[in-house]
């Protein structure tokens, strides 16, 4: 049974004034391009503890977090781990919403970070590797102090989305295995029966298509 939060179908009231703007349900492949509704909702949760906004966020993100959990094989060993991750992540979204800053990252990226770290912590708990340090501590996020060039950032984000849409199958596959299936380059190579160099090269080419340069300029 799908989640049915109580809200008017297809419209979101903007918080700044009376004008209502329609936000229609876009097909999945386009949703990455329009972060505005999710940024707004998350800010509503953060500043007003707005439960309606939270319900809408849940409806959108919970199925994606579940897919993310399943992609990384969480369900294989212990059942209901994927649901556990969804619960953990959405609870953290509620608790941390007041720290969300749209100038630093979109709502999706912000939520992805929570999901990634929660997944790491869940694995550490399952393998009994606990120390008092959590994934948030180990994958410590610096607060960027420098001026944020919004235009540059926006253009970089556009290039990532555009580039991702044009990736050949084998590059997309490599990216999916590394980023969603929680596999190292070595593990991907072993799974696909490829030399490690080939996997690294596919990732590198994918990055080039998205105009991301990972090489260091000093070397």
């Amino acid at each position: 049974m799908a989640v049915q939060p109580n809200r008017k179908h297809g419209t979101v009231q903007r918080s700044n004034g009376g004008a209502q703007s329609k936000v229609t349900r876009l097909p999945m492949s386009h949703q990455g391009k329009d972060q505005e509704p999710w940024n707004n909702l998350l800010e509503q949760v953060g500043s007003n503890q707005d439960q309606q906004s939270f319900a809408q966020l849940f409806q959108h993100y919970a199925p994606l977090i579940k897919a993310f959990a399943l992609h990384s094989g969480l369900e294989r060993s212990v059942s209901a781990q994927a649901d556990e991750l969804v619960q953990e992540v959405m609870t953290l979204v509620w608790r941390k919403a007041h720290t969300f800053d749209r100038a630093k990252a979109s709502a999706t990226t912000w939520i992805f970070t929570i999901a990634r770290n929660a997944r790491i912590d869940l694995y550490r708990r399952l393998s009994r590797h606990q120390t008092e340090l959590t994934a948030d501590d180990l994958w410590f996020e610096e607060q960027t102090e420098g001026p944020i060039n919004n235009l540059q950032q926006h253009s970089a984000e556009q290039q990532i989305r555009k580039g991702m849409d044009t990736l050949p199958h084998e590059q997309k596959e490599a990216l999916t295995k590394v980023f969603l299936e929680d596999k190292t380059h070595q593990q991907v190579a072993e799974e696909l029966g490829l030399p490690l160099g080939t996997v690294k090269s596919r990732i590198r080419l994918a990055m080039q298509k998205m105009k991301i340069s990972l090489e260091n300029t000093e070397l």
Binding site: V3, G32, R95, T108, T109, S127, E157, N216
Partner: protein, 216 residues
């Protein structure tokens, strides 16, 4: 000046979350010093979140929503406490990523002499890896040694050089088990580094994630 950075695939695995935790900590420390790598990590996370957003969504049972709502409604509406780094911390030169581990600075660690000009203080981060701080005496030369396993080092304070190059604050250095070196420390102060090594009981010379048959 930072000359040594993490390799592209290390950055990718960091953003993806598959990097072993002790290595992730080292990378976080490096990012505190290095704007260039910080920007790369940010873009990689963007890639990851786009991939997450483009997945085919998997239906979630309505009871899950109810459970989450029940949980958040019983919680007091208080913001999360401020992290340790935001309170006044008397050692500004210690990277923020390490402040939770070092609530009382470097001097309060349990330093033990390992060899001439080298003291070591061990940390408990994870069962597979040996994580420690190394302090090398100013102007000193540490006797030549190899490590049987790969070592990842981040320079936190001061600097040193060896036959392979120069290393300063923020440098992210990977050495394989075959490297033999005799670090010479700069004259202007002790050199403190964060070091991550596989525990000697591991037979392979590479970092491997714990392959728990229970999980995979």
């Amino acid at each position: 000046m930072i000359r040594h950075h993490p390799a592209p695939d290390t950055l990718v695995e960091y953003a993806a979350g598959s990097l072993p935790p002790a290595q992730a900590l080292c990378l976080s420390v490096h990012l505190g010093y290095c704007q260039q790598c910080q920007e790369k990590a940010r873009q990689l996370k963007q890639v990851a979140s786009n991939l997450m957003a483009k997945q085919a969504p998997v239906e979630v049972d309505a009871s899950l929503f109810d459970r989450v709502m029940a949980r958040i409604q019983t919680e007091a509406v208080t913001p999360e406490p401020k992290p340790v780094t935001e309170k006044s911390y008397p050692w500004p030169s210690i990277p923020k990523a390490l402040r939770k581990l070092l609530p009382n600075g470097f001097d309060s660690l349990n330093w033990k002499r390992a060899m001439k000009n080298l003291e070591v203080a061990e940390l408990d981060i994870d069962q597979d890896t040996k994580v420690s701080f190394h302090r090398m005496s100013t102007g000193g030369k540490v006797p030549a040694h190899t490590h049987r396993s790969d070592e990842l080092t981040v320079v936190l304070q001061g600097g040193f050089s060896d036959r392979y190059g120069r290393y300063d604050e923020g440098d992210f250095i990977v050495r394989t088990g075959e490297h033999e070196h005799a670090p010479t420390v700069d004259q202007d102060g002790d050199c403190i580094t964060l070091s991550v090594m596989e525990k000697p009981i591991k037979l392979t010379g590479r970092f491997t994630r714990l392959l728990n048959p229970f999980l995979r």
